[in-house]
Amino acid sequence: MYLYDAIDREFLTDRSNEFRHQVARRLAGELTEDQFKPLRLMNGLYLQLHAYMLRIAIPYGSLNSRQVRRLAWIGRTYDKGYGHFTTRQNLQFHWIKLKDVPDILDAMAEVDLHAIQTSGNCIRNVTADPYAGATAEEIDDPRVWSEVLRQWSTLHPEFSFLPRKFKIAVTGALTDRAAVKTHDIGLFLRKGRDGAIGFEVVAGGGQGRTPYIAQTVRSYLPAEHLLSYVEAILRVYNRHGRRDNIYKARIKILVAALGIEEFTRQVEEEWGKINAERADLPAAELDRIRAAFAQPRFETLPDVSDAFEAARAASPALQRFVRNNVKPHKVPGYAIVEVSLKAIGQTPGDATADQLDVVADLGERYSLDDIRVTHAQNLVLPHVKLDDLPAVHAALEAAGLATANIDLASDIIACPGLDYCALANARAIPIAQDIARKFADPDRAEKVGELKIKISGCINACGHHHVAHIGILGVDKKGEEFYQLSLGGSGAEDASIGKILGPGLSADKVAPAIDALVEAYLHIRTGEERFLDTYRRVGLEPFKEAVYAQAD
């Protein structure tokens, strides 16, 4: 992984010291809250319902064991012994005290972590495929380009005061595990006709109150021009983005207003004016960054591990875990292991400090010191030897981390909702817990198959409800929590925005409604159809009937 150099470390130390002084001045009354708020937000510090919340950037969801251990230590020392992984591959602590934050930032800086650009109208933490460097379907390693973008966008003076926040995602695989098309800029690595590497550049995606799927601005951009091209897009946005209306300030509104052809024309024109030699990354610098992601020395192993085969033949639990949580690796004898943070009844995305320590140990011992965070609020051990799978599974099981439900109905994305968040209108976590309990029987969950349920506690859509197979949006209806269901969304390579099913439901009616939707699906599905495929074939009507006939 990319490790900071002396300059990076000095910068983080300075930044931490600066914030320490800012906090002291705020507490002494030398700064008003209006003056202080933008400063704390620049360091990822929000005030939520019960305490401050600190959002820590995890660049492209990639961590080493030392960092995970440090996060566990922070959770234990300054929070209530846990942390919450977000849909942007970040980690949030929900019980932070302002007076402790400078010490926390110092502790993070020691392991190359910070909370810069996790808030505000700037380029936010770049997200990427959590299987990067491990999956066989990859054209190039998206971490290389994510790191290029991270370094370029960090404190970029021209893009520090954009009309609104700006999110970039990168994937090198055809399977989209990073919800790339819901981003302001999405980058798909592509192979050119000449065999060179480039990007399909999409822009104008986003969720929130006006969801859009990103559209293609350029089907092939030679990779070496990434920075100049992204700069051109940002310049067009920075110039024309609506600063007068917060609800119309994201680039998606601009792209929709101009139309993709005109937007593209303006971007290309702007790109033509940029001195690429100045703007693009020098080849030597790219090589330096790429070297940080050089393929680790994998062992030469047989395709099949006898030890693993024997273990799984003897253990239905391991067998189930392998069916759902273990994915093919590019190197024979290795596997990608997903660690579910969705145990039935638990808060989606929460990990205790003890669990984080277990994951750190497993990552260090069995996964080449590499640990990833997914946008679905789970963790990944990307490089596990098949020989080691039984031991890894046993250790995860002992820590309550072996729930075999990746992409199943109980693997629910949920934002913190009204239990924590100052913006929320309704709770999301208890709804997720109720639904997960309906699928506590793992046989039933597997029978249903891939079903992505996602819940947001307000229209800002941190819970990705627009791009869920079944999306749930919490609203405040005449003073009560109500939930609006939508079907047919997808955040993957077949991206689409869900359609609203019908009138909102009260909190206690949501899980039974999901049950009814699933039963209807099981009744009408044909062959290997996923829930999403069946919906796309039959439309809303049969599902509407299933939910609202029962509700009457």
Binding site: R26, L27, T32, Q48, L49, H50, I96, K97, I429, G479
Partner: protein
């Protein structure tokens, strides 16, 4: 009936007004009758003039519950209790009658519960 709430600057803790001071528990909060609007206004103004102690001072509407008072707003009840997904986290951890009354309260959610609500950017 009304109470006054804020978050304490130094740690973000939810606090309630009580006769010129800030207390952690909703059960200890000073309650204002319908006729005491002027007192509420004065107390809110006093709180707002303590920017190094508290932030975001506002009054909340209350409703009867279990023979006690509880915030009308769901959001305010969660602030007074702690998150519903972690019953041992936050103020609710102490248990007792006040907590039970808050848990049993029903009524409107945030949009009608917070007086003079201004959506912050």
């Amino acid at each position: 009936m009304k109470a006054i709430t804020a978050n304490r600057l130094i740690d973000g803790e939810v606090v309630f007004w009580k006769g010129g001071a800030w207390v952690d528990g909703f059960g200890d909060a000073q309650l204002f009758d319908e006729g005491q609007d002027a007192e509420v206004e004065t107390a809110v103004a006093t709180g707002k003039a303590q920017p190094t102690v508290v932030i975001d001072v506002y009054s909340i509407d209350l409703t009867p519950s279990d023979g006690r008072w509880a915030p009308v707003s769901y959001r305010e009840r969660i602030r007074a209790l702690g998150p519903t997904n972690e019953p041992t986290h936050g103020k609710q951890a102490v248990g007792g009658e006040v907590v039970e009354a808050l848990r049993h309260a029903d009524g409107a959610a945030r949009s009608t519960g917070r007086v003079d609500l201004i959506r912050r950017k």
